[in-house]
Subunit: 220 residues, 2 copies
Amino acid sequence: MEGCKSVEELLRSPFDVRWVAADEVALARWRAQNLRLPAETVAATRDQLADAGSYQTNDGAIAIAAMKPARLPEAPDGITLVLDDIRDPGNLGTLIRTADWYGVTTIVASATTADFYSPKTIQASMGSFTRVSVYYTELALFLAAQRVPVYGTFLEGENVQTFRPASRCMVVIGNEANGISDAVACTVTTRITIPRFGAAESLNAAIAAAVVLDNFKRLQ
Amino acid sequence: MEGCKSVEELLRSPFDVRWVAADEVALARWRAQNLRLPAETVAATRDQLADAGSYQTNDGAIAIAAMKPARLPEAPDGITLVLDDIRDPGNLGTLIRTADWYGVTTIVASATTADFYSPKTIQASMGSFTRVSVYYTELALFLAAQRVPVYGTFLEGENVQTFRPASRCMVVIGNEANGISDAVACTVTTRITIPRFGAAESLNAAIAAAVVLDNFKRLQ
C-alpha cells in the first residue's frame, strides 16, 4: 500500500500489516492515535518512499500487509455486487468505494476483472479496500448455484426506479465496452434498466452500479 | 479528436469539422453512411495516425474541428450541472457522459476545472462531448445572479432520495478532495445529501452527480 491515507486505513483495518515505512510526521500522528504499528516500522523521507514505491511522488507512507484469504461465501447476505469482466483498475476501485458507501461488503468478480491489489484499484477505492472483499471465480457457475434473484443491468428491462428488488440478491455489472457476457446473461433471472432521459449510449460501469444500489437501498 | 468513435460522433454533430485523417476502412464506412466529410480529408495508416496524435495506438481516425463558441446562457432551462474545481479530465468526461444520459446539456464550471478539450475528457465522455456544452466562468458570481434554486451536495443536508427539487435548478458538485469551496457554498440555497448505508467517507464526484440526477429526474 502506498500513500498516507491508504496506509492509515490499513492500520485501522483487520489486515495483518507486516512492514511500514513512513515519514516522521505520519509516524508521530499514528503513535499519538495509538495505532498499532508492526515491529518492522522504519522512518523514511518522502524521496526514499517515492524511490521504493510505484508512485511518482509519495505523501508519506508505504506498507506491506498480507493478502486476505479469499474464501468465497456460499450464500452472502444482503446485496452482492457481481462484476463481469471490469477491466479498468480505476473503475474497480470506484466500484469498491461505491459498494462501501451503500453497505455492500461482498463483490464477486470474473477472473478477467482487474486486480484488487493493483495500486490503481487501491488508490481509487479511497480506503474502502479494507472493508469490501473481492472474490474472483467462474461467474456463470457461481451464479447458477445461487438461490437468490440475479439482477443484471441491460439497456432494456425492468425500470430500476420503480422495480421492487429482493433484500437478498445479486447485482451483475458488465464489461465497460461489451456489457454482460452471454454465459453470465443466461444466469440473470431479471433484467433491469436505468431510465435514460438524454442521448448518451450508455453509462460508465461504476456509475451504473451506484444508480442501481441507490435505487435498491431506497426500494428494498 | 482522436479515435474512430469520437471522430464519427464529431462528424454527426453540429461541430465545424475542418480536417479528417482516417484509414480506408473508416472512410469507406462513413462515405457509405453519407456522413459529410470536409474537403481536407486524407487517407492514412493507423501507424501514421498514432504518430500524428497523442494516443499510443489509434484505431483509425483523427479530426480537427473548430471549438464551439462559449457563450454562457443567462438562465439555462431544466437542470444545470455546476462543477466547482473538478480537476481530473477523466472525471469531467464521465460527468459529461452522465449529464447526457440524464438529458442535462448545460454544464457550468469553475476556471480551475479540467479542460473540456483535453483528449482524456473527450475519450471519457464517450461521444457525449458533442451534445453537452461546458462553460467556464467565475462560479460564485454566476450562481449569485441566478433566480433558480442552487442545490449543493454536502455530507449533511436534505435527503436526495425524498427531497422534491425544482424543475429548473442548479446542481453543484465539488472538488474531488475538498468538496464545494466556501465562496460557492455561500450561494447554495439548499444543501442536499446522498444517504450513506455503509462506511465510505465520500463518493467519487461523477458518482455523486449521477445519483443526484437519477433522483432529481424521478422526483421532479
